[in-house]
Amino acid sequence: MSKVPESRAAAATSFASLRGQLHEAADRFADGPEALEGILLGMVDDVDRAVGEPLEIFPVCHHSPASALAMARRLREKQPKVVYLELCEDMAPLLTELRNCRLPVAVQAFASEIDGFPAEWAPLSVVAPITEASAEYQAIAYALDTPGVELVLVDRSCDHVFQWDARHEQAGESTGDDTAGPGTGPVEAALHGEAVGVEIGDLRPRFAELEEHLLRHGKVRHWSEWWHQYVEIPLGDSDHDTYRQVMFLIGSLFRRLAPGDGERVRVDEDRERYMWTRMREHLTTTGTDPADCLYVCGAFHAASRVEEFGVHGADSFTISPRTDTRWQYGLIPSSHAAIEAQFGLASGSVSIAATQWAKNLKRTRVKPYRLQGQAGTKKERPTKAAARAAVAPAAAEDQLSGFLSRPPVLDTLDEAELLGWSVDITRAARRNGYLASTADAIAVFETSILLAGMRDRAKPTPYDFQDAAITCIEKDTVPGRRDVHRLVEIMMGGDRIGQVGYDALPPLARDVHDRLAPLELNLQQRGVRRALLDMASHPELRACSDVLWMLRRLMPAGAARPIMGERRLGERSIQESWDLSLGTHQRALIELGYEGVSLEQVLEQRLRRAAYGPQATTADVLAAIEDATLHLAGRRLPDELGTRALEVLAAERTVDGAPEVLRRVRGLLAYYRTHEPVLPLWIESFVKAGYAHYCTLLPMAFTDEDATARQVAAMLGFLFSMESLALSLGCDRTQLELAVAQSHPQDPAKTALLWAAQVQLGTLSREQLRSRCDELLANPLVVPSYPHYLSGFVHALEPVPGLADMVVEAVSNAFGRLPDAVLLPWLPVLITTLRSDAAELAPLLVREAGRIFPARLAALDAWVPPWRQRPAEAPAVRATDGVSLLSAHPATCDALAELLGCTDGWAPADTQPRGVSLLPAHPATCDVLAELLGCDAPWAPAARTPGTATLMARHPATAQALAALLTGP
């Protein structure tokens, strides 16, 4: 410990000459020495301080192969016992799983149930992508695979990322540059979804003017290109001290020239305080010598000036507790394109970094660290932990003066490599439909060199080559899927997409893969796999089919797509074929794993969430019931959700969802009737409640302007089609009749609907309906709204399907009777009204019309519509018509009697009025009537005699007079 002041003193002296030079420079370039000198000398102070720190700080930059190379070298040389890494501390347990994955992958922290943050932030997601060509991977691989070495993550937890993130509070703004918008760019770029990215060593000027200046003078277009050109390549072969000092210097420069965003600076400083506090805690608890440790952090943080900086820093920072949010951790696949999109890097820059890394390794023969059994790499012999003595931090010598005054070592791209590229790009272009030839290869080669010359470079960089290739090969159109820009990117290493290995997957994802194993497909791989399921011959595939249907319900479109076969209530296919791309949608599957341990559990949770959500409508709940019935075995969940549907229905005051409710209830009823011994209780209650509910809402819906004819028709459909069930369960039809009687719609379509309902209920005859339609057509003032009436009638086909012929008649009448002057402007209205309002019912109408109209053109001339011929052809049928025939041809009846074995013979024709014979048979009736009328005369003898005889008996004088008349005098 006592060495520290000495080393500081030594370091302080070693930078003296540089200070002197900078002081002079400040004098020369600025008006006064104050500001510029402050910055320039402050930078040297920062470097001095970081170099003098007893705990060795290793500054890195993200996706920098130079950093990775220096890290590998330093680790081999120093063999530290503890590695502190700037990465969210709660991600530590996952890092060992990296060996099961093909890089790049991202460590993800995910929270869907949040507590302590505003509800609208959910779900929270943080990703830290890791590539092989990065310094952090070197540190992780070394620490995890070397016995006796501890890896300590010291950065704030994912919870703190959001606690400290004030940007979220600015309403409606995104979380800043480092949030990749989902759906922007190609699929590969959206691999991280909406996650917030965290990364080690974000090093970029925060001073827009500075960046612009650097880009302009570097004659480059993008920051990544500038870095590659002016830092990456010169630093590639430098020694450890130079590397560190230069990185400290850059970190300090960007820090000192970062004005403005105070919020961001505050977060950065808090992170530094956090990290140093954690490191000191660790040092005190374990008693490790700081000289045996290595602290890997971004160069920006290495140049920190907070009080807590250093092993001897102040302990004044208290770490705030985490919220109660439940975080879950996992690995998700990442890709170079996703990293570039998330962190605003030039497209292709991470790929170029990967290529550069491979090239550096080959050139310098540095052996990189690699996790044992790392997927996607060749097997290696395990590295021996060489027990080398830790190198004590040597007194820092001034490497900066030399580095800054040397001209930059320019890219070592050789001619043979450039030639190879030119030939390759021409070939790739040709494969992609370009008319590229050898002449183009020559032109690309030549142009690259010319461009590099214009940009003051001795040799072309990959970016110059890209420009040259675009200039020479790209014409006015892109013939294929990829343009030259993209082809060069692919050629330079292309996008690499990581993959999370089976062992590193969450239980749900592993379970899915296990259950789909009978399909015998490699579903881990990216790309589309075709699965053929013949359940008739392989019944064991039914379980796979169940899983696939659930995946289709839960995963984004495209992850599992049925090509053949469908699953609906009560229907299962015996053969199915599927397009599966689970490998491509690995992130979605992994994120599903955060929600539960099996697909069934996740599905149940989601259905329950959908049904119990505050915005849930009856139709939503019924949809959830349908899904539960389809995908989950057992009646528990559907019954529970059914009860919920009843509650929601009772609380609903609009009829917006009526069509959907009708459709779903019908489907469910049909399913239960055919598949269950008795109807579930909930659906019986639902029909009862629905009948009463829609009866109550019907009069209002008829007058409400917001309720459409389709919705009212669906209500009527519910009422009419569920009527028998509802009445059997104790509902009363009077309720419906009253509801219809109370309805007084204004809207033509709804009026037509009401008429149809009245016809169905029997309060309006078809003749009356017909005459009403005729009146409408006869009234020129109403004719323009006739299509709306028709649309109402067409909707009425849903509740009253028997009215189809009337509707055809109504339409035909309109065509038959209206003059062309009215009809022609009216036709488009009719078509658009029918198409927009009643598209799904039109086929029914057409079918009915096909039945009524003659099928052949020739028959049309003689054809009379059935509604016209009805009065002529159908005279009133009298009951006696047949009877008279029988008496005229008694043989028919004789034959019949003989056949039946009747031998009684013919009774005499009964000419008397039939009621009369009843009276003598039942005299009591007449007695009572007589008594009632006050007649007390006795009964006359049975009227067997003709009526005149009775009269004679009553009036004997008449008879005598008649006799006298007949006998004569």
Partner: protein, 374 residues
């Protein structure tokens, strides 16, 4: 210089070019007058960090890499085809490039439906042919042939407006770099062939809106490097362009009038608003007929400046600007006027109340102009 309505770039910037040539010590390809880096400097302007004694103004506004790629193409074996939407400054870039490279930007063939092969190769002076027969004297070389003979850059404007067979006359010029004249007798001295001198190249421009009218043949395509010039969408660059071109116009008309920066902002903002509303419009009736290009903006400003100068109080006012905007953009009687009316009342009026500044006056001027027109 003053007796030219519009001086070509090499005359207009002659003095600057001379100076650049005098300080240029980098290697120059072929017979170029300036090295590629100097050409870039001439076009894109200088900065303090270039360490030059005098400032070189920026003349073309756009991405640096387009200029670099264009220059490099001209230094190579291929022709340069600048392709882009109308009003993106293709021709201006072509003119600047020719002026900087060979001090001659006037060897131009204008492509039209009536362009024939003679316009590209050569034609004959008929009376001289009758008098003296066919000879080199009686031949009229095309601008392209002249460029070949002099080893300078020839330009072909609107290449895709001319028919395909005419375009294809360029193929042999670009690959063999000579034109043979079969009408002349060959007596072994190559008199019937016109060879191109080093430094010859062709800059063509093509309008990407014309695509499909006369598409280039594949053979011609591969003899050209395509550089696509995108539309300026950056407000800052657009302001630069408008300011630059307006100053030039004022100088040409010899008008001493200052364009206040606030009015320039008003103009840029109103065009940005109108573009946004055109982008959101559903049918053609809901958007202005004008394409609202940068060139159109310059036109509006020029109109307003001229009007203020000759009929006003020699100061540019927001009122004049609004009148000129309405006058230039209202082309269809009811539709365009309705859109402008909607714009004035829906956007300008609230902004005037909120921000004040020149907007209320702009609104007044616009109202008056619409009232006069309707």
């Amino acid at each position: 210089m003053s007796d030219l309505l519009r001086a070509p770039a090499e005359i207009k910037y002659a003095e600057e070019l001379d100076w650049l040539e005098s300080i240029d010590d980098d290697p120059k390809p072929f017979s170029w007058r300036l090295s590629p880096k100097m050409v870039r400097l001439f076009i894109l302007g200088s900065e303090r960090a270039d360490g030059l004694d005098r400032e070189v103004s920026q003349k073309w506004f756009g991405d640096r890499s387009f200029v670099e790629r264009s220059i490099v193409t001209l230094a190579s074996d291929r022709g340069l085809l600048l392709i882009g939407d109308p009003g993106t400054g293709k021709s201006w870039l072509a003119e600047l490039l020719s002026a900087a490279i060979c001090r001659n930007s006037t060897l131009v063939v204008q492509g039209t439906a009536g362009t024939t092969e003679d316009h590209i190769k050569y034609s004959w002076n008929v009376s001289m042919v009758i008098a003296k027969g066919q000879s080199r004297e009686s031949m009229i070389p095309s601008p392209i042939m002249t460029a070949m003979e002099a080893g300078v850059i020839g330009r072909f404007e609107e290449l895709t407006r001319s028919t395909s067979d005419v375009q294809d006359a360029l193929i042999s010029i670009l690959s063999e770099k000579y034109i043979s004249v079969p009408e002349l007798q060959s007596d072994g001295d190559g008199d019937n062939i016109v060879f191109a001198k080093p430094g010859f190249s062709v800059i063509a421009t093509a309008n990407s809106r014309d695509r499909g009218v006369n598409d280039l043949s594949s053979a011609l395509k591969r003899r050209f490097n395509f550089v696509r010039i995108p539309v300026v969408t950056n407000k800052k660059s657009e302001a630069e362009i408008v300011r630059f071109r307006t100053e030039e116009l004022l100088r040409r008309h010899q008008i001493e009038l200052e364009v206040p920066p606030t009015l320039l902002d008003v103009l840029l903002q109103s065009f940005a608003d109108l573009r946004a509303s055109a982008a959101a419009a559903g049918s053609d009736d809901e958007k202005l007929e004008s394409a609202l290009s940068t060139a159109e903006q310059i036109g509006v400003l020029e109109d307003a400046v001229l009007h203020s100068n000759f009929f006003g109080e020699s100061t540019l006012t927001a009122r004049n600007l609004a009148a000129s905007l309405v006058g230039s953009l209202a082309r269809r009687e009811p539709e365009d006027l309705a859109i402008l009316n909607k714009y004035l009342h829906g956007v300008v009026e609230p902004r005037g109340k909120e921000e004040g500044g020149s907007w209320p006056e702009f609104l007044e001027g616009g109202r008056e102009a619409i009232a006069k027109l309707s």
